[in-house]
Amino acid sequence: MYWTSWFLAALAVVLAWPVPVFLARATWPARAPFAAMVLWQSIALAGGLSMIGAMLCYGLVPLGDNLASGLRGLVRIFLGTESLDTLGLIHAFALSAAALLSAHLVFTLWLTYFRIQQQRRRHRDLLNILSSPSNDRPGTVVINHQAPVAYCLPGGSRSVTVLSDGLLELLSPEELRAVLLHEQTHLTQHHHLLLWAFAAWRSALPWLPTSKLAQRAVSSLIEIMADDVALRSVSKSTLVTAIALVASGSAQLPAAALVQDSSAQIDTPATTSARLSRLLTPAPSLGAGLQALIIVGALLLLAVPTALLVVPGILPQ
């Protein structure tokens, strides 16, 4: 248990800092977005598990040789059949920290979910009275505004894609199709769930480099994935034109200028430029074997802390 806790602590540190920094700098994720997405999820999950696991194992050292026997010892303490003195102050502290961190993560996840749902409900209420349903496109509404915007508001069966008058004027039917395909991919691939999890991860541990880098990476990866799906049905030049038109159009708006003054600008990655340059100077996607290797590696990464926690006797006592 003692060595397990130290190994998990080392893993937690590696996953919290050097690994995400290297991955965020790497260029291959744009060539294998799905594999990169799996890897980021695995890093986040394995990182969280190692952090909590390290403290838990360290705390349980005096109570047993493995997680199961240690937890049984903890139950005995709670039942009063074993003295609290067995644990000692430092180990009790580690256990409390593990419990607090777990509670903090779960609570933040729930709170973020609640806040997002609330904002979406308000937004849907406003949309309902301000927009009119698009006649020829189901699940699509049009708002009367000059800004060329397109977005989707997820919400199960009430998911809706929103287009503005400004956008409909700006784009040709084929370019509009590219935009709709892109937005519908966000909905069908449930990208909002990924964004929710990583937004929660970030607001739970804002000082951790990995949470910030992971959120940025994930939000640019989902754009790449949505672009790739759109490219199966529309030509590359159509998609490029649509992105360029909408981006240059929305930059001219007073609201955009207002938004750019805020400090949040620092956090906004240059996703649009990255998307365009990827489309204009495409790099071949990573070989299937290499992508499979990355995914297997990501799963192994998650398997290591899980096995260390659950399977007794992997590391010497």
């Binding site: 406003l126 915007v149 892109h182 240059s248 240059a270």
Partner: protein, 125 residues
């Protein structure tokens, strides 16, 4: 008047047209005068005042309509103008609040001035 959503929109449109607060009865009459649907051919059933009241209380709960309780019957007005609501909506769409990306997925995120300049050159405009 197919769905409750359509009715809500129609009620809000009428409240925005009227500067002063109006009663559910007047609203019902105004709604009945409106051409129903896009085809205009279908003759809609006369609207019950209770339906209008249901719609109004839903809108009140959403914070879009306020009720003047001083007089009987109660009078209703829109909380704020259509333009204000649109501005609120667009600010949420264009803004960069921390959770915005998780709330809704935009086709194009925030674009910096430099990026916009490059794009305009690219498009030859």
């Amino acid at each position: 008047m197919a769905t409750l959503g359509d009715l809500e929109r129609a009620v809000m449109d009428l409240l925005w047209e009227h500067q002063e607060a109006i009663t559910a009865n007047i609203l019902r009459d105004l709604l009945s005068q409106r051409p129903s649907g896009d085809d205009g051919a279908t003759e809609s059933r006369p609207l019950a005042v209770t339906t209008v009241l249901t719609v109004l209380s839903r809108l009140e709960k959403k914070g879009l309509v306020e009720r003047e309780r001083a007089s009987r019957p109660h009078r209703y007005r829109a909380v704020t103008s259509r333009a204000d609501h649109t501005a609120e909506l667009m600010l949420e769409v264009l803004g960069s609040a921390t959770d915005r990306e998780a709330v809704l997925a935009r086709f194009i995120g925030t674009v910096s001035d430099g990026e916009a300049e490059t794009l305009r050159k690219l498009l030859g405009r």
